[in-house]
């Protein structure tokens, strides 16, 4: 736990709140998946909440996030209301993508969520591109790409980081190293276990943080965001974390990892860790934390109800929005 940081109490509680919001939304989605309410894929973020939370806490609405297949946490942390995320996965017209996208195509440009993606890689490049716009237009904005360890071996990582580095773009490249890409361990798919130190290869700062320690993430991201806003160029941040649930809902969580390993990481649950610290430091009582949990649970239930009641989109709209301009 990054305990020598000077992060004010309100912020710490806000971080806690966001993590709980993500967790409860994900658990509600997992239940909904079992109930057949979610039509396509559903990759939950349970266990990784500290990353999206710690990073997005620094972002304004006009700052942008480009996310992955495991993107609910990023969407929520960036400010997409839970009901819009849930309704989207339910395929409803009130979903943040109007039911067109589902889990892997969440869009909410109004709050800077520039898409989750079903393809590994592109979001890294797009984040660089947003940084290009901001630099070109002299806006003091920041772009963030979240991606997994699996993306690190992809050419998009290499080309995207290099482009951001040579043009000195205001971008955070946040790798959520949860040790596996589906069931393939990072130690198999790369002979180099380090991600953070690869920043140096591209001539940019590279940082490694405990991705289950939201305060550590918050601290590292804060420095990177400040650098980016002041034309100091991009930063690579590796967050070491762990996915608690199966790769996707409905998938068996096979023999590729031991129950012991999962149990150990559950001990390091980011919400538990911060909760313990908040009570130890006297920032919040257990009762107050429980109250946060209860409030959010009520919100989440309302969101589920909202989503259930939202209509399915009109089939006649299926081909709207392919083009903006008349042929």
């Amino acid at each position: 736990m990054a305990s020598d940081l000077n992060i004010n109490k309100q912020t710490q509680i806000a971080l806690y709140r966001t993590m709980v919001l993500i967790r409860q939304t994900e658990e509600a989605l997992a239940r909904s998946h079992q109930q057949g309410l979610i039509h396509g894929a559903c990759h939950t973020y349970v266990g990784q909440e500290a990353v999206a939370t710690g990073v997005c806490a620094h972002l304004k609405h006009q700052d942008v996030v480009f996310s992955t297949h495991r993107g609910h946490g990023h969407a929520l942390a960036k400010g997409v209301p839970p009901r819009e995320v849930i309704a989207e996965l339910f395929g409803r017209v009130d979903g943040c993508s109007r039911g067109r996208g589902g889990s892997m195509h969440l869009f909410s440009p109004e709050v800077g969520l520039m898409g989750t993606t079903g393809i590994v890689g592109p979001n890294i490049l797009q984040a660089a591109g947003a940084g290009y716009t901001f630099k070109l237009l002299g806006q003091s904005l920041v772009s963030v790409a979240f991606f997994g360890d699996g993306a690190v071996n992809n050419g998009a990582f290499h080309e995207g980081l290099n482009l951001a580095a040579i043009y000195q773009l205001p971008v955070l490249f946040v790798c959520e190293n949860n040790l596996y890409a589906t069931e393939v361990p990072f130690s198999f798919s790369s002979r180099n276990p380090q991600v953070g130190e690869r920043g140096a290869m591209y001539g940019m700062p590279g940082i490694v943080v405990d991705g289950n320690d939201v305060l550590a993430v918050y601290q590292a991201a804060g420095e990177a965001v400040t650098r980016a806003r002041s034309d100091g160029g991009p930063t690579l941040i590796e967050c070491r974390t762990y996915r608690i649930r199966a790769h996707a809902e409905g998938m068996r969580d096979g023999t590729y990892r031991s129950t012991q390993e999962v149990a150990q990481w559950k001990e390091r649950d980011p919400i538990k860790l911060l909760g313990a610290r908040l009570t130890t430091d006297g920032i919040a009582t257990q009762g107050e934390l429980d109250e946060i949990g209860r409030t959010i649970r009520a919100e989440t239930e309302l969101a589920i109800e909202f989503a259930k009641n939202s209509p399915f989109p009109d089939p006649r709209t299926a081909t709207d929005f392919i083009y903006s301009t008349q042929a």
Binding site: H39, G40, A41, E88, G91, R92, G95, S97, G99, R100, G101, G102, M104, H105, T117, G118, I119, V120, G121, G150, A151, N153, N154, G155, A181, T182, E183, V184, F188, S189, S190, G254, T255, Y256, F312, P313, D314, P315, R316, T317, A318, T319, I322
Partner: protein
């Protein structure tokens, strides 16, 4: 005869070929110990080990390009790319290298590579997991392109694909993977470029691919009750494309509909139309019709998704309309 699934049939073909030929190997994400996202390689890793069933990083361009080099030097790679959409990142390797190496080397190098993956719209997979790009591969010289519709065809064509010295795109509709069908125990191969007349009929010819073969058969059964007799042809391979069987059928029926879940513009339906116009114009009693999926990215929501693909009813209606021409 025993019935097994589409995936099991193709897997059996793979197992037989791997047993026979030690130069065959498979790469892909999770095709090792895990046996593949769709079970395409289940049980083979235990038998043949890591070099012959190798997991890859998420580096589609990299491992496709790697397999190109492997095929140039005497092994026979099979790339299992899960969803066909993912292979777009390797398009340069496919179109500029794999499709061209034999030509560029004036036939002194072979290119025995199979690229397999799932295609098609269904299950709210949304637009990054629903692509069918066979028209693109057909446009490019150098490929063989297989779109099987039954377990029997899947096995026989997959074995031919593995034995081919040309690059083969083997594209499996995801809604067919669990379809069961008769597959003989004895070994067999099916040739490329030989269409299958899956239903005989007199009044109209329908060419359909992959999942659409089944939807068209449903529509044909429906129409039979209305006294409409439909001949259904499954080309099975779109490159090479067996036009003779189609032309023969039109000679009899005088009418043609092409049902293709994928996009119309510059698609397989257009190509079939152009060839029929060129070679069978005088046999035509009506304009050739195409029924395609909507020309749109694929939406997620079930109501929208259903609206962008042909179904039994829209196929039946297209046939009725064609008979009125």
């Amino acid at each position: 005869m025993r019935e097994i699934t589409f995936t099991a049939a193709a897997r059996e073909g793979l197992a037989e070929e791997m047993e026979r030929d030690p130069t065959i190997f498979v790469v892909g994400e999770g095709i090792g110990a895990r046996g593949g996202n769709f079970g395409t390689t289940l049980g083979l890793y235990e038998k043949y080990g890591g070099m012959r069933l190798n997991d890859t990083p998420i580096a589609e361009r990299g491992f496709v390009g790697m397999c190109c080099g492997a095929a140039m030097t005497g092994s026979r790679p099979i790339v299992d790319f899960m969803f066909a959409d993912f292979i777009l990142d390797a398009m340069g390797e496919l179109l500029n290298q794999i499709a061209k190496i034999q030509y560029m080397s004036s036939g002194r190098l072979k290119m025995p590579i199979v690229l397999r993956g799932c295609i098609g719209i269904g299950n709210s997979a949304a637009t990054h997991h629903s692509g069918s790009y066979y028209s693109i591969y057909t446009h490019i010289p150098g490929f063989r392109v297989v779109v099987p519709s039954t377990p029997y065809d899947a096995k026989g064509l997959f074995k031919t694909a593995i034995r081919s010295d040309d690059p083969v795109m083997f594209l499996e509709h995801k809604s067919l993977l669990n379809l069961k069908g008769e597959v003989p125990e004895q070994e067999y191969y099916l040739p490329f470029g030989k269409a299958n007349v899956v239903r005989h009929g007199e009044m109209v010819t329908v060419v359909a691919l992959g999942l659409m073969v089944h939807k068209t058969l449903e529509a044909a059964a429906l129409l039979e009750q209305e006294g409409i007799s439909v001949q259904v042809i499954d080309p099975r391979t779109v490159a090479p494309l067996d036009m003779d069987t189609v032309l023969e059928s039109i000679h009899k029926t005088g009418r043609l509909l092409i049902v293709d879940e994928s996009f119309a513009p510059c698609g397989i339906g257009a190509e079939v139309t152009a060839q029929v116009v060129s070679r069978g114009f005088d046999d035509l009693d009506a304009p050739i019709a195409r029924l395609n999926g909507a020309h749109t990215p694929t939406p997620y929501s079930p109501t929208l998704e259903a609206a962008v693909v042909p179904n039994t009813e829209t196929i039946a209606q297209a046939i009725r309309d064609l008979l009125k021409e």
